[in-house]
Symmetry: C2
C-alpha cells in the first residue's frame, strides 16, 4: 500500500503514504499490520504542538514510533546520542501537500527527537507506538542539551 520508503539516518526512515480522493473527502493510508514498519501495537495517541513551540527532547529505549502528521505541519529533528559518528536529520511533514510530504516517520529506539509546530493553527501528530506509555523506558532532555546539533534552527534555542 505504500509508495516509497527511504532511510533518513540510522534508525529513522520515511514512508510516503497514499491519499485517495473521493467526492466526500479523501481517505489517507496510515499503517497496516503487514507493513515492514509495523513493530507491534502498544498504543495510539495524539500530540498537538502549538505554532512556534517545540516538544522534546525525548528518546525511547524500547518503543518504536510510527509518526504521522494529521493536521498542520510539523518539523522533526532527530539525532543519535553522539557517542558514535554523529547522525541527524531534519524533516517537515504535513497534512497539506503544499507544505510538506504526507508520510509515516518510523523512529527506532535510541534516537533522540524533538518536534516543532510550523502551522498557524493546530499542528497534530499521531504516534502509533509499538509499546504503551511507560515513563521508565523514555528519557528526556532540555531543548538546550542537544541544540548544538541543530545550530541552524532558532527554534532550538528555547524561545518557545
Amino acid at each position: 500500500m505504500t509508495t516509497e520508503r527511504r532511510s533518513l539516518m540510522p534508525g529513522v526512515h520515511l514512508t510516503l503514504l497514499r491519499r485517495i480522493a473521493t467526492p466526500h473527502g479523501e481517505v489517507r493510508h496510515g499503517l497496516r499490520h503487514d507493513d515492514a514498519d509495523f513493530a507491534g501495537f502498544g498504543e495510539a495517541y495524539f500530540s498537538e504542538v502549538y505554532h512556534g513551540h517545540v516538544k522534546g527532547w525525548k528518546m525511547h529505549t524500547v518503543m518504536t514510533m510510527n509518526l504521522i502528521v494529521m493536521q498542520g505541519s510539523v518539523r522533526f529533528l532527530l539525532c543519535d546520542d553522539g557517542s558514535r559518528e554523529a547522525e541527524s536529520c531534519d524533516i517537515v511533514l504535513s497534512a497539506d501537500p503544499r507544505l510538506g510530504p504526507y508520510g509515516r516517520l518510523t523512529v527506532a529506539p535510541g534516537v533522540w527527537m524533538a518536534f516543532a509546530g510550523l502551522g498557524a493553527g493546530v499542528n497534530l501528530l499521531m504516534n502509533l507506538a509499538s509499546h504503551g506509555h511507560d515513563p521508565t523506558e523514555a528519557r528526556g532532555a532540555d531543548l538546550a542539551a542537544l541544540a548544538h546539533r541543530f545550530p541552524q534552527h532558532a527554534l532550538m534555542q528555547g524561545e518557545a
Copy 2:
C-alpha cells in the same frame, strides 16, 4: 486510561478519552493494547468528510472499528439491519470540546454506519481497525437505503 464507557446500542459503545494539557499543546489518548476495546491491530487509516457531506452506508462483517475524530466534528449514524428489533444511535464526536465529546466509538461487525461532516473546515477521523482493508468483508448501501431509519436527518436524504 479511560474515564467512561457506555453502550449506545448493541455492538456500539463510546469511551470518553483523556486530553492532557501541556504548555506546548495537549496530548490526547487514543487506544492501548490493554484496553477492553482493543480487538487486534489490522490497520490505521484516516477519512475526511467535507462539511455537509455523508459517507455511507457501510457495514463490516469481520472488522471491529475504533473511531476517533481528530479534527472538526462528525455525526455518526449507526443502526442494525432491522431484522430484529430495530436499534439505532446518533452521536456527534469532535476534537473541539465545545462541539462534542472527545472519545472512541467502538463498532462491532454487523452494524451499519454512515457519518457526516459537521465542521466548517476539514472533518477528519481515524479508524483503528481490527483487520486490514478487505473489500470482500464490507458491504455498502446507498444513503437512501437506510434513510427511513433516521427520518429526522435531512442529511440522510442525499443532498450531499
